[in-house]
């Protein structure tokens, strides 16, 4: 983990990038031209009040919603559009989405499937993996997140923290190049938060490229390569955690940090 911070910035290869991102819902402009980049092995932590646009950026990065203007660039290639910059069809979007892992605030495990089936479904459908191979990979991944003994339970039989760890395994098993976390611990009881954060921290230590929208300040300090603040649809400030928390440059950042502590 510490190696990535000592690596000179310029040599870090960009995995996912958005440029000049705009999004409006009704007459509410949620994103007002955001530029944001995450490089290989980096953990970008995104902070901000609710409604600041941080979750919307994540959804647009994951190609879950159409953007109004701007670009999403994945491994050097614009995604979500064809050669003529027209939005591509759902089937093509589906293929591109499977390269980007997404974890939701409310877990969204498939309630009609067991833990094992939750983790094998997309492997079977999008990776065309065989049943035995998919199961083996799922079992291995579930073991990594500490749920190896719950393979045949249904989501309703698990705690929130367990469900979220299954959701992480479900995304990881597709071998994504980047993992996006949308407030992964906000819906959890306080005593379950640490189990999920521990899995994420391990993931970061293993070198996974991550964007984490969260309110967990200690996680941001400990794990973040950079910490960014969103406010009213713009990226206000971005800096390594030490700098961000001790010497923020922007008044809005100081204001935000005052209200947290």
């Amino acid at each position: 983990m510490s190696e990535t911070t000592t690596t000179p910035r310029q040599t870090v290869k960009t995995v996912l990038e958005v440029r000049n991102l705009h999004k409006t819902y009704g007459n509410q402009e949620v994103l007002k031209g955001v530029d944001f980049t995450v490089g290989s092995g980096e953990v970008k932590v995104v902070l901000g009040r609710s409604g600041s646009g941080k979750s919307t950026m994540l959804r647009l990065m994951a190609l879950l919603e159409p953007l109004d203007a701007g670009e999403v660039i994945f491994k050097g290639k614009r995604i979500g559009v064809d050669a003529n910059n027209r939005p591509v069809r759902e089937r093509a979007l589906a293929r591109q989405r499977s390269e980007i892992g997404m974890v939701f605030q409310r877990f969204n495990l498939f309630s009609h499937l067991t833990v094992m089936q939750n983790v094998t479904l997309a492997q079977r459908l999008t990776r065309k993996a065989g049943a035995a191979e998919a199961k083996a990979r799922a079992a291995e991944m579930l073991d990594r997140v500490g749920l190896g003994s719950h393979l045949h339970h249904f989501p309703s039989e698990l705690s929130g923290g367990q469900q979220q760890r299954v959701a992480i395994a479900r995304a990881l098993v597709l071998n994504p190049s980047v993992m996006l976390f949308d407030e992964p611990t906000s819906a959890l009881d306080p005593e379950l938060v640490n189990d999920v954060l521990a899995v994420m921290e391990q993931l970061a230590a293993d070198g996974m490229t991550m964007v984490v929208v969260t309110h967990e300040m200690s996680f941001a300090r400990r794990v973040g390569t950079d910490v960014a603040l969103f406010d009213q649809g713009v990226l206000v400030e971005q800096a390594p955690p030490e700098e961000f928390f001790t010497n923020p440059q922007q008044e809005r950042t100081r204001n935000f940090l005052r209200h947290i502590h």
């Binding site: 879950l64 989405r97 009609h112």
Partner: protein
Amino acid sequence: MDFDQSIFLQALTSKEFLSGAVLSLELAAVSQVAATLIGLFVALAGISKSKTLRSLAWAYVWFFRSVPTLLLLLIVWNAAPQIIPALRDNWYSPFLAGFVGLSVVEGAFMAEILRSALLSVDSGQKLAARALGLTPAQTFLRVELPQAIKVALPPTGNEFIGMIKYTSLASVISLQELMTTAQVQVATTFRYAEFYTAALVYYLVIVSAVMVLQHQVEKRYRWVSLPAKTRPRVERVPATLKGL
């Protein structure tokens, strides 16, 4: 006139009643299957983005919920062949006419059941499926539909029981189902009580069997790994509250 048990028992065990009951059940089953498929397409049209499709779905539900089933059966069996010569041939049987009439009417009711069932599926389920790279068809068939079916099962069982009873309306189009069988026997013997009771018993048995079947299917859609008694409790009690 007393209730003659031997006539009742004879009717109950007669070939006519048995084949009438089988015909009723067959008609109900194929009509319900067709109605469910019609209902699924109408429901999908009803929640689609296209305004035209939504209008068509609305019109279908409006029309076929409004028209009395008995009237529609008479139209399908008596009026349609007058307008469409092709329907005057032998292949156009009372069973087929009954099937068409019952399924298009029931399709309107199933459309409403399935529409509400599809809308009840948590939007996060679809979002997660899309994020994992499932195509729209895969998302619908592998994630949304199974969850909608769970919601639709109890009202659909209800509808199927209703359908079994509605097949008795096909007696007006000379289909030899259970009700017609009873009517024919009554017309020649005037033993109302015995034959009607025999028909009643058949309906009770059929509906009871359907209820058992429905219970079994619903059990499969409970989505728990263990019987309730042995299932571990997932709700955690904070240590500070224990012993209160």
